[in-house]
Symmetry: none
Subunit: 203 residues, 4 copies
DNA sequence: CATGAATGAGAGTTCATTCAT
DNA sequence: GATGAATGAACTCTCATTCAT
């Protein structure tokens, strides 16, 4: 069984290798550059080898999405350590936006890329994403419970805040801020974040 | 002379036919499916024929974007008729969101699709889009002038509102609302719109 | 019949128009650029119109070749005015080379371009070319008759001189003189012409 | 190890197969007929397969040219064994012409075909060609040194002889000898070669 | 007389994928 | 376990040519 385990481990390592290559390609040259050939070439294996570890291209993309979801979770979840729900919420938001700014490619993959049907099938990824999302809504709920908002419509509050954050990041990621000079974009995003926080206090 | 006009009209109709086919393909199968061949096949012409009406593929994409921008303008600009700036702003927002909900494909093309270089070149489209955007910011400015907000940071206010609206629509368009049951999504969007309006009053 | 004549003349003018356009394209951008479409575009007629005046593309190329042959004849034949056969021969050679240098494109068409079978059919062109060629061989014959050469093998003498001249021009036309600096090529050609003349005196 | 060698050999064979097909197409139907698709069809492989052995079309053309240059060198260089420079020069010329007559397609590729940019880039081919050319000019120089000519203008002498040989071959290759009956052409070429040799003695 | 409209054929190239070894 | 070899299908684009009007 030692042998089986070793094999298992080696298999896992190879999957990692492939995934890292895919991720690198995706980051550096965009989704279109993530081709089996390119991956194979960049890890110096033959294209056929890839198929020993992943059924097809879409399975790789799924894995990539899972990867992105994990990175996002790690980036965002430290907020959970904060006890005060309002501060926790604000920190969560800040971290969410920060993740999007720092990893526009991963954010894209998670929240913008038109998923080629795998998203639904990709149970793992979905579960992971939902966990974070639940944490978010529960934090809002906690704020509601502790009367940080006048409104008690937790769902709508959470959704509204998400809309803003997502809009903020995705205008950035998909380069729809060209009417603002490059150097002002970051600043504007920060100001807007501050503003939505302010606004939230009066929901 | 009648003949020339007829020819002209027929040419225009053919361009429409091509554009509609392209749009349909984009809507149904995404940008990658918008190939000259697919378009040709779907309108039952030969690929070469397409080139009689559009110089190359990017010209089609440009036309598509311009189309989208025009439809959006027509959808949104009736708000301009309203005199009171605050009401005008709200109506504008409502129409913006409504446009996105009714024409997710066009919205996608304008604000989400990673533009393959055409967007910048496509001066017309950019100009058109900027005109609408200016109307939006000027309306915000009018609200600021008339003390509808405590804040006087017009730019940030406008941007924040846009973020929310864009987030709202694009989560919808790119199907990131699967955690909410289908039939609730529209309602949630409406509630959120109402909420941001409320929140805006206390900026 | 005045009408018929006019029609005839107009037809001829149109053929000229087409031919000139073809020639211009050929000169400026090479044989590959001589496409029916390009010709049509450059004279602002439709491609279909071309076919009213020329059966197909190869007929145009034939006409072009005839054209080239005529220009060549006009360039070269003034030598005929010289009475002394040896001087006439030298002048003919000089003019032949000069034609090639001044009209590399036409020379190419006449003596290098792989004729797509039309050359043989193109009786006119052939006849014209033969007339000039005959003038050349007759001049050599005259030199032989008047003992300008020791050898009496007129055919070989003529052919040998032609080989040199053709080699000279065609190395130039097809850019096989890259081992010589650009500015020296013309000079080298002239020196070589002088040398062959010298050499010819001792045939 | 044997396996690697075998693979290597098979790969080389395939490259040969492709090259031969390309050459055949070039010979039989001209440069324009040398398309990836034609090559593929003629060796009964799919077009995509070609790309496993050659990066792109221009690489094939380069290989073709290099091939031609190598064959030419092998055909011509045995002359180097002759010690007496004049005899060496004559033998070189004879072999040059002989190469052109026996391999009109290769000669065409090297000295007539309008090189589509590859020639310059194709350093190897250029180097190889230059080596042979240098051998030629050095032989002429040796003749000059040993007073085989009255003239001491090595460059012009070499160039003049080349012009004749090139003219001789290329009139033949591009079929501009139609005014001479087929069966006389070879003979005429030989006579002309003999004549230029004679003439050279009196340069 | 002229042409607008159309097309089949063909160009170079890339991709995901399969399969025998 | 790994891969070399191969391919069918797809891509954008250009061309000579035809034909009804």
């Amino acid at each position: 069984m030692g042998i089986i385990e070793r094999k298992e481990r080696e298999k896992e390592e190879m999957r990692r290798l492939i995934l890292d290559a895919a991720l690198r390609l995706f980051r550096e040259k965009g989704l279109d550059a993530v081709s089996i050939r390119n991956i194979a070439e960049s890890i110096e294996y033959s294209p056929a080898t890839i198929y020993l570890y992943y059924k097809d291209k879409s399975e790789i993309l799924s894995a990539l999405q899972y990867e992105a979801a994990a990175v996002k979770r790690d980036h965002v979840m430290p907020a959970a350590a904060i006890e005060n729900p309002w501060e926790r919420l604000v920190e969560f938001g800040r971290r969410y936006v920060d993740f999007g700014m720092k990893h526009p490619d991963l954010y894209d993959l998670l929240f913008i890329t038109r998923a080629p049907m795998e998203f639904i099938e990709n149970q793992q990824c979905w579960t992971l994403g939902m966990a974070v999302h639940s944490f978010f809504t529960e934090t809002v709920q906690a704020c509601v419970d502790q009367r940080y908002f006048k409104s008690t419509d937790t769902e709508t509050i959470a959704y509204t805040l998400w809309c803003h954050a997502h809009g903020l990041v995705s205008l950035f990621v998909r380069e729809r801020m060209r009417m603002y000079p490059e150097e002002k974009r970051q600043e504007l995003a920060q100001k807007s974040f501050a503003m939505i926080v302010k606004m939230a206090e009066s929901i």
